[in-house]
Symmetry: C2
Subunit: 305 residues, 2 copies
Amino acid sequence: MSVLVVGSVALDSVETPRDKREDILGGSASFFSTVASMLTSVRLVAVVGEDFPAEHLEMLAARGVDLEGLQKADGRTFRWSGRYHGDMVGRTTLDTQLNVFEHFKPQLPDSYRDSDLVFLANIHPELQGDVLAQVKDAKFVALDTMNFWLTEPHVELLRPLLKRVDAIILNDEEARMLSGQHNLVKAAAAIRLMGVGHVVIKRGDAGAMLFDDGGIFWAAAFPLENVVDPTGAGDSFAGGFMAYLAHAGAFNTMEIRRAMIVGSAAASFAVEDFSVDRFRNLTRDQLLARCAAFAKLVEFESIVL
Amino acid sequence: MSVLVVGSVALDSVETPRDKREDILGGSASFFSTVASMLTSVRLVAVVGEDFPAEHLEMLAARGVDLEGLQKADGRTFRWSGRYHGDMVGRTTLDTQLNVFEHFKPQLPDSYRDSDLVFLANIHPELQGDVLAQVKDAKFVALDTMNFWLTEPHVELLRPLLKRVDAIILNDEEARMLSGQHNLVKAAAAIRLMGVGHVVIKRGDAGAMLFDDGGIFWAAAFPLENVVDPTGAGDSFAGGFMAYLAHAGAFNTMEIRRAMIVGSAAASFAVEDFSVDRFRNLTRDQLLARCAAFAKLVEFESIVL
């Protein structure tokens, strides 16, 4: 099955307590498609500026990512720069330049319209709705968002979308904002009542939780000794999650639980290097081995009392 | 196998955003022994004052808890009062009256000296050492502590104990203090180098992690919709953990992983009511059912890529 992603392709400048990088490949759609291309065919919808390095496009093309939907606009590519704090969790955004992303209008090539799975990365909810209207036969749609779109009046544009997507992927603070509930079990229940069947709540180094008809599932975060750069962990999670579902070709609770693990494994690799670098030479067997390590991490067999 | 616990028996006054209770049964040894008595025989070493209500002693005795080591001293019982914040995680201590606990010297009755498992709850490390010297044939010893004992000069009294216990149970901030490492994988490795074979790090609503020769194990925290009173969760965890090991009669990694789950299940019950109230009528089958729910919470079967 094919996966369509609409989101950002950016150039990031990242500072951590130990290192820094300038103008490296970033953006939700970059992380998503780099990861997802390990397991399935990916179609990308995004925009870059005239200054975007050809090597990144070559890298994506070499992974089989379909770039027909990648627009090239006059001007500079979307740029983000940030500094991570000592705990490698908190971060300060130093600069955001929307550049060509400011007037981005996603246009789907005709060849994308039969996409089976669709990931609406964090962009304006109106644009997410535009894309959704162009892929009416999609079998599984997931949506990401951010705190900004959860405030009035933007959240009113988001609400109708929630009735039309199969899964929402958001972090714990966003789940609390959207639901008005602090307790995550209550927050997820409230969001499900808004019309989303599968609610995925990312909790950073506490893992990620799935709430759906099958109950609650907890995917641990892989315990890492060295985190190099947390940027892109969430979009790598989404890439692994959606690509696994495309690969499995089914969307029942057990497959979605497995997708949570593949997503968590992808996120754990993403933070081990800057940009998408950890995925450049990563094999499918290495990804599978980390999924097996997740199984071992929570293994306790049966208990008799 | 028999479990010995040395710790506090207290009267707590607890305020939550929705409710409050005064002078209810509290203290590490109370939670520990109430829980552990569901699965094994428990021997209690603690001190209470003249004002301690007989009904609590009757409750513990009815559960088969051996109270021969419970001292009755002149004066008032140890009292703690605190107020939980809106998130039911943060809390403010309003008052601590050590009372008879100030001059507590644990004395083990002769009949306790053959105890198989020993839990040294959070008390002065010197007292923990005194107890340890009185149970030389113990097969498994676990130690809890708190931030205060991890500061100089107290921590120097704690260090030699770490070479003599099998497991240390502490929370994430305490693990960071003791090790000087922020990353929990590194913190646990550093603490293991201090001489403890099994390091258990409690992470509140992110669960608890075990680090030992078997690798890393992650016990999720049970997702609860309503937390009534978080007091005693950690000591209930320890009670379930040690009681399961006594029940199993073996201390290999897989049994210790199972003990983590029984402890987590006990902690999840503890917070569903004030004091030890949730355990008063809780059955072993209900405890087992919650352990099974933990298995379901992390279940994803095998993944094929």
